[in-house]
């Protein structure tokens, strides 16, 4: 595993969502950029407090849906009118109204798959190992505790200084995250 000297960052633990949002805003104002906040449920304000950008996910879903739509229609048209032209009940080979239900279903399927796979890919999941799990109390991040982790790769990071800064926000505890 990692060398004992290498640290990933410093992690402060809070009791309430409000204090975590306040602490994150404060750290952002102080100039910290490489940090992440962890909570047991989604907190809208937290994402803004980190100064993060909007996600590209909706665009990915739109592109996925369009691919499914064109692909689904193209498959039916090609198979029914070109690859295997067969006259059924005197209907035209390119009988587009009959192709709409499957086109619709293919659109939905591709859009849903791109929403799920896109979300996982952008989040970098599955991720079998992450340093934050080295902190034993981090197990509570999926129960009732709120964590702010300032990472060592931040240019402003300094083990002593950052720890002192985190202590000013009255966390329950500040722990060192082993790398």
């Amino acid at each position: 595993m990692a060398k004992p000297s290498a640290i990933y960052g410093l992690m402060a633990e809070f009791d309430e969502p409000t204090t975590l949002v306040a602490a994150t805003q404060h750290a952002h104002r102080e100039g910290y950029r490489c940090m992440d906040a962890y909570s047991p449920f989604p907190i809208e304000e937290l994402h803004e407090a980190l100064g993060a950008h909007h996600t590209r996910l909706p665009l990915i879903v739109l592109i996925g849906g369009l691919c499914g739509c064109i692909g689904g229609y193209g498959l039916q048209d090609w198979a029914s009118a070109m690859a295997y032209p067969i006259n059924v009940g005197g209907k035209p080979l390119h009988s587009w109204p009959a192709f709409i239900p499957i086109t619709f279903e293919c659109t939905i399927l591709a859009a849903a798959l791109s929403a799920v796979l896109g979300m996982l890919a952008l989040n970098g999941l599955p991720m079998p190992y992450h340093p934050v799990f080295n902190v034993p109390r981090f197990a509570l991040a999926s129960r009732n505790r709120f964590f702010l982790c300032i990472e060592a790769r931040d240019p402003k990071f300094d083990v002593e200084g950052t720890r002192r800064f985190l202590e000013t926000m009255h966390p329950r505890e500040v722990s060192t995250v082993a790398g």
């Binding site: 969502p17 949002v21 449920f41 937290l46 996910l57 029914s80 499957i102 979300m119």
Partner: protein, 486 residues
């Protein structure tokens, strides 16, 4: 790890002090306010009590004897399903009662019944999410699981009904040496795409909703096996704010995508009938009437499951009377739409002045299957009218009985649509009768066993209520605007 356990105990004590704090009762979501509505979550709960109570069912509570008995019995029924299907594969569909002119009978009835039941899960998780109905939170997880298992049972029927089920893959468009492609103008092909898309999207929706809760189980599991297995399923979820943001976006988009999907699926199922020119099937009312019927039967099934589950697992704090009452109201409304469908069906048959169309409702009311038609009207149109009364909506026993009756009524509806339309169509010389055989029944009852067995496994191994969504509806989850600046 002992260290963490100590902390957890410490936290529990700390949180209990916070329980019942002043201000809790003022929250409209959680308190019995002037409207007289019961709360969606009982007062006094915190992040930790919600987490512990729901995860304990999976992790620490002893598996009861009742669970083993229930699972064992439903598993026996599942084995009966396997036996019936095996015998079917050996002998062919001649072991069933359907024959010309009734080519579709129990299998298609059961298919439509099961897929209709599935619709409530997607409705609760997608449409009610978009409409910001917070009460959906405690019932969406197992309603989605119910959807998934119901769709699995539904998909089985058309697959084994094809006669040579080992060639079912011919339904898929794939390049083959025969140079043949599926007939895309056929509603049966639309069905293949609609049902398989529905099954996939339901599974994705369910799994995505589970990820944060699987992380909770991973962190709280006392056993090595448990934390490894739940850990693999949670895929390393750590609750990062960036992740939550994309997660919420994905979940909302999926809800938006699933909403038209759920409407399309039962529409396509209804087109299986209405595209044909058979009197009794060839009706434009079919799509909306089928969709309403699907939601109606789905909510009946959610009530059938929710009422015993909340009593057995002591979940009255989370699945409150508010949920049961709301579901009863949805049932009442969709039930009325279904009744409107019955009326329009009969009216349009008369108004068409077509001899064969007029004969269909007449035959349903007076023909050989008339007792079933009147029983269907009693189950679906008469009994649910009791839901207008508040006293009935407040009684879990009454709701449970009504839900069972509606389940039966909706099955009868599909039986009437499928069988009575087919058995007497145009030429009296081509008329016939249908009666189910033992194998029809054993396959149908077997799928009920499979459905119940899967549900037993689900409540034992996965959190049946969404833990993280329950946390968000607690009053302490709100970020206080004034306290932002330290």
């Amino acid at each position: 790890m002992n260290n963490v356990a100590d902390h957890v105990k410490d936290d529990a004590r700390h949180d209990h002090r916070g329980a019942g704090a002043p201000g809790l009762d003022e929250d409209p979501l959680h308190a019995v306010v002037g409207t007289g509505k019961p709360p969606v979550i009982a007062p006094g709960h915190t992040f930790s009590t919600v987490t512990d109570k729901i995860s304990a069912i999976v992790l620490t509570r002893k598996t009861s004897l009742g669970w083993y008995a229930g699972f064992g019995f439903s598993f026996l029924l599942t084995l009966m399903l396997f036996a019936s299907v095996s015998y079917l594969f050996v002998k062919g569909i001649g072991i069933w009662g359907n024959n010309v002119p009734v080519g579709w009978a129990f299998e298609i009835t059961n298919f439509v019944w099961w897929i209709g039941i599935g619709h409530a899960g997607t409705l609760i998780s997608a449409i009610l999410l978009l409409l910001k109905q917070t009460w959906r939170t405690s019932i969406n997880r197992f309603a989605e699981a119910m959807t998934l298992f119901a769709v699995a049972c539904a998909g089985l029927f058309p697959a084994i009904h094809t006669g040579r089920p080992w060639l079912d893959y011919w339904l898929l468009p794939y390049p083959n040496t025969m140079g043949v492609w599926p007939q895309f103008r056929s509603p049966i092909m639309w069905d293949v795409f609609a049902v398989s898309t529905y099954a996939t999207v339901s599974a994705l929706f369910w799994y995505i909703g589970l990820i944060p809760d699987l992380a909770t189980l991973r962190d709280r599991s006392q056993s090595k096996t448990g934390s490894v297995l739940y850990g693999m399923l949670a895929m390393g979820w750590r609750g990062s704010a960036h992740h939550w943001h994309r997660y919420e976006t994905a979940y909302l988009l999926l809800a938006g995508i699933a909403t038209p999907l759920v409407v399309s699926v039962h529409t396509v199922v209804s087109l299986d009938f209405s595209i044909a020119i058979l009197p009794g099937w060839h009706a434009t009312i079919f799509p909306p009437y089928f969709v309403a019927g699907a939601i109606y039967s789905g909510f009946a099934m959610v009530l059938t499951l929710a009422i015993p589950i909340r009593a057995v697992y002591g979940l009255e704090d989370f699945i409150t009377m508010r949920h049961l009452q709301n579901m009863a109201k949805v049932m009442l409304v969709t039930g009325l739409i279904v009744v409107y469908g019955y009326m329009i069906e009969a009216f349009m048959a008369w108004y068409s002045a077509d001899k064969f169309e007029v004969f269909v409702p007449y035959n349903r009311m007076t023909g050989p299957y008339a007792p079933f038609y009147w029983l269907l009207l009693f189950c679906n149109a008469v009994v649910p009218q009791t839901l207008w009364f508040k006293r009935i909506r407040n009684s879990t026993i009454a709701l449970f009985i009504i839900a069972i009756i509606v389940n039966i009524g909706m099955w009868l509806e599909r039986f009437i649509i499928v069988v009575t339309s087919l058995h007497r169509d145009f030429m009296p010389s081509a008329w016939g009768r249908y009666a189910p055989t033992f194998w029809d029944w054993s396959t149908y009852v077997g799928t009920i066993g499979l459905f119940v067995a899967l549900l037993f496994l689900f409540v034992r191994f996965l959190p049946m209520i969404s833990i993280f969504e329950m946390r968000t509806i607690l009053p302490e989850a709100k970020v206080d605007e004034d306290l932002r600046v330290i």
